[in-house]
């Protein structure tokens, strides 16, 4: 069964450094998402992406965050200058369409900011 893959599984970064989290969505999916889960909290939406542009973003997704689909298969989340509170599990998801179709999630990247 096709799946969403995320790399790396764990990223440790010094505060203030840039980090790029990578995702390969399911190949025939057209909608892409990033979510995060801070330890002990709910899974929270960050951003959705369709047709090479952001379709929606949450208030968490400020100017420090950006997303890109650089080559037609990868979907990346960049955090420009990481803060301690960015430590979380980051999940990528994709869906085939926007109507009545589930989002399928990768196994996540654990981001630890020191």
């Amino acid at each position: 069964e096709p799946e969403v893959t995320q790399t790396p599984s764990h990223q440790v970064t010094q505060m203030g450094q840039e980090v790029i989290l990578r995702c390969v969505p399911i190949s025939n999916h057209l909608y892409f998402y990033w979510y995060r889960q801070i330890l002990g909290q709910k899974v929270e939406f960050l951003v959705s992406f369709y047709n090479n542009e952001i379709s929606e973003k949450s208030e968490i997704f400020d100017d420090q965050f950006s997303v890109e689909r650089p080559d037609g298969s990868n979907f990346t989340l960049k955090i420009r200058s990481t803060k301690l509170e960015d430590s979380a599990m980051y999940f990528c998801a994709s869906s085939v369409s926007r109507s009545n179709q589930p989002q399928h999630f990768g196994d996540g990247t654990r981001l630890s900011i020191l």
Partner: protein, 113 residues
């Protein structure tokens, strides 16, 4: 943001019996609801969904019930198996709106042999 709530943080059920997980929502605009299962160190795995035009959807051992007037949905697993032990998340969105899923806090289900 408490738009989707799972009030039971944990549930313990005997193997072979029925597991019932509950979820409440407050946003009447939600019209698509999903259940995800999550094992440690893995991402949420889609289980079953229901749109607001239905009140029940069944897939094998899993059935989701939707009560729109009460803004309540439940997931029934029968019979429960040891491999069902996981955290279960309820999620909701608005089909024609933003595609963001709003998640509940999750319920940890433990199936006892």
């Amino acid at each position: 943001d408490q738009q989707v709530k799972q009030n039971s943080p944990s549930l313990s059920v005997q193997e072979g019996r029925i597991s019932i997980l509950n979820c409440d929502y407050t946003n009447s605009m939600f019209d698509y609801f999903l259940w995800y299962k999550k094992y440690p160190a893995e991402g949420p795995t889609f289980l079953i969904s229901i749109s607001s035009i239905k009140d029940k959807n069944e897939d094998g051992r899993f059935t989701v019930f939707l009560n729109k007037s009460a803004k309540h949905l439940s997931l029934h697993i029968v019979p429960s198996q040891p491999g069902d032990s996981a955290v279960y998340f309820c999620a909701a969105n608005v089909i024609q709106g933003a595609q963001k899923l709003v998640f509940g806090q999750g319920t940890r289900l433990t199936i006892n042999p």
